[in-house]
Amino acid sequence: MERIKNYINGEWVTPETKEYGDIYCPATGEKIGEVPFSTASDVDKAVKAAKEAYWDWRCTPPLTRARYFFRLKEMFEKAFEDIARILVTEEGKTLDESRGEVRRMIENVEHATGVTTLMTGYNLEDIAHGIDCTAERQPIGVFGVIAPFNFPAMVPWWFLPYAVVCGNTYIVKPSEQVPLTQTRIFEIIDECGFPEGVINMVHGSREAVNAMLYHPDIAGISFVGQSSTARYVYKACGETGKRVQSLGGAKNFILVMPDAEIDKAIPSLITSFYGCAGERCLSGSVLVPVGDVYDELKEKFVAAAKALKVGNGLEEGVQMGPLVSKKHMEKVLSYIEKGIEEGAELILDGRNIVVDGYPNGFFIGPTIFDKVTPDMTIAKEEIFGPVVSIVRVKNLDEGLKLIENSEYGNAACLYTTNGKTAREFKYRAVASMMGINLGIAAPMSFFPFGGAKGSFFGDIKGQGREAFQFFTDTKVVIQRWT
C-alpha cells in the first residue's frame, strides 16, 4: 500500500508523524493508499524551506518566473489524462468532469503567465511640485493553501500560480481525503525544475492546518471548504495578522421563470444539480419554479434525473459518480431522512441505488424532494450531494427573497427569455456568482471566484486580476529630485 510523502525543498520527504489516514476509491470502496497526518514540525520544515527560497525567487525577473509556468503548462498537457484518471480514482467524479477540472487548473497557469502585464503598478508625475509617485506591486513572502476534497486538482491552482509567479513562495496542503492528485502534480513540478523551496507540499489534517494558520512566517492563507471551517480560518488569520481569502459553503437557488425554454434548460439544470454528484459549491441545490412553470418543469426534470447513468466515473459514458467517502455518503443520507421527517415529499429516491459491479461504492442516486418549504433543513443547509429540493414561488420577488434569506450567497441562477427579468435578477440577487440560462456560474481563471455572506470570508477573491492584488503589497514611492 502506497504511503505518500511530503514535498519540501525540492525533495520527497517522509514526515516525522507516525499517524496516517486511509485513502479510498469511492467507486469500489477499497483502500488505495495512506496519507501522513503531518505534525506542526513537518509544517515548520516546509515554511523554513519556503522562507529560505523567498529572496532569490523574489529577485528573479517576473518573465523568468513566468517561463517556469510556460514549461509547467506543457508538462501538464502531456500528463493531462493521467492526472484526470488519478483524480477520478480518489474523488469519484466522472472522467469528463475530471478532465474539465484539470483544464481549469491549467487555465490558471495560463492566466498567471500574464504576470508582466497583470502585476504592474501605476505612477503619476508631479503629485506635488517636482514630486513623482509610483505604486509598485511587490511580493510578500510565504503563502499557503488549505484545499478541499471536491476539486483536488483545480482549487490549489486558483492560488498557487499567481502567488508564485508574483515572487512569493508556497505551501500546498491538499485534502487528506484526496491527496494523490496533487502528489502526481508535484511529481511534474519536481520534474519542471523550480528552484528548491519555491513550491512545497505538506499532507495532513487538523494539526497541519493549525500549524499553517498560526505559523508566524506564513504571510497569507487561501482556504476553500465548508463555512464553519472557513470562518475559523478567517478568525485565526485575523489573530495572526495574515492575509486571508476563505471560501466557504453554499446553498444555491436556481429559479426557472414561466417564459424559460424548458427543453433547452433541462440538460443544463441536470448538470447543475447532479454534476460532480452535487459535491461542488456552485451546484444547484434548490430548484425554484416560478409561477405556472411548476408542472412541466417538475415532470421533465424528474424524467431527466431518472435517466442519468450512475457508476464508476472511470467508465466513459457514466454521467454521475459516487460521493467521496462513506462518511460523506452517510451525511447526505441523513439529510434525506431529515427531509422525509420534516414533511417534504420524496419523489425520486436515490438511497438504494444498485450500481452493477460496485457493491461497496459510495453511491447515492439522483434524489428529488417536492413540496419543500423554506424553513425545512434541506432548504437551508448545504447538503453537498445529489439531492434537489423543489420550492415553489409565485413570482420573481418571492424567489429573490429566498436567496436573500439564505445564510449563504455563493451562486444563484435564473432561466428566462426575458432580458428585463434577467437584469432585475442579477441586479438584486444577493450572491456573488450569477448564471443566466446556465446552471453552473463558474468564473474562469481570468475572473474572480468567491461568494458573499456566509460563503466567503475575506476581501479579495481567488483568480482573476484580484489574485495579483492578494499576492502582492502595493508599495507607494514618493520621490523628489528637483
Binding site: 489524462e81 469528463d96 468532469e97 474539465g100 483544464r103 440538460p267 435517466a307 459514458g317 454521467q319
Partner: protein, 143 residues
C-alpha cells in the same frame, strides 16, 4: 451503448479513427492498384493526425461548466462488419475502404449535431466534409 457524454463521443471518435488506421495498415500491402495503395496510405497518415486532433480536442475543449448529458446517440449505429468481404483483391479492398470512410463520415456528421460546443461541432463538421470528399474520390477511382 449510448454515447451520453462529451468524453464518450470523443473517445468513440478516437476509437473508430484508430480502428480505420489499423485496418488500413493491414491492407496497404495487399493493394495492387497504385491509386488504391496511395489512397490507403493517405488515409493512414490522415488518421494519425485525426487521432491526435481528438486527443487535443478532449483535452482543450472540455468545458466543465456545460457538461450536459447527451441523448439519442448510439455507438451500435456505427458498427461495421468486415467478415465476408474479400481482402485478397482490389475490388474487395475498395469495398472495405469505402465502408470505413462512410462510417466515419456518418459519425462525424452526426456528432457535429450532438455536441453543443461550437468549436468541437466545427471540428466534427470539417472532418465529416473531408470524409465525404474522400468518399467521392474513392468512388470515382477505377480499380
Amino acid at each position: 451503448m449510448t454515447l451520453s457524454t462529451f468524453g464518450a463521443i470523443i473517445g468513440f471518435a478516437a476509437e473508430i479513427i484508430d480502428e480505420t488506421k489499423r485496418i488500413c495498415d493491414g491492407l496497404v500491402e495487399k493493394a495492387k492498384n497504385p491509386l488504391l495503395k496511395e489512397a490507403l496510405q493517405n488515409l493512414i497518415k490522415e488518421e494519425e493526425k485525426n487521432y491526435a486532433l481528438m486527443e487535443k480536442t478532449r483535452r482543450e475543449n472540455v468545458t466543465e461548466m456545460i457538461l450536459e448529458p447527451i441523448t439519442g446517440f448510439e455507438r451500435e449505429d456505427y458498427a461495421i462488419r468486415l467478415d465476408g468481404l474479400n481482402q485478397e483483391n482490389d475490388e474487395g479492398l475498395m469495398d472495405i475502404l469505402l465502408l470505413l470512410i462512410d462510417r466515419e463520415k456518418r459519425f462525424f456528421q452526426d456528432a457535429s449535431k450532438k455536441v453543443s460546443l461550437p468549436e468541437v461541432a466545427g471540428i466534427f463538421k470539417k472532418l465529416g466534409r473531408k470524409k465525404e470528399e474522400a468518399l467521392q474520390k474513392c468512388k470515382g477511382m477505377e480499380v
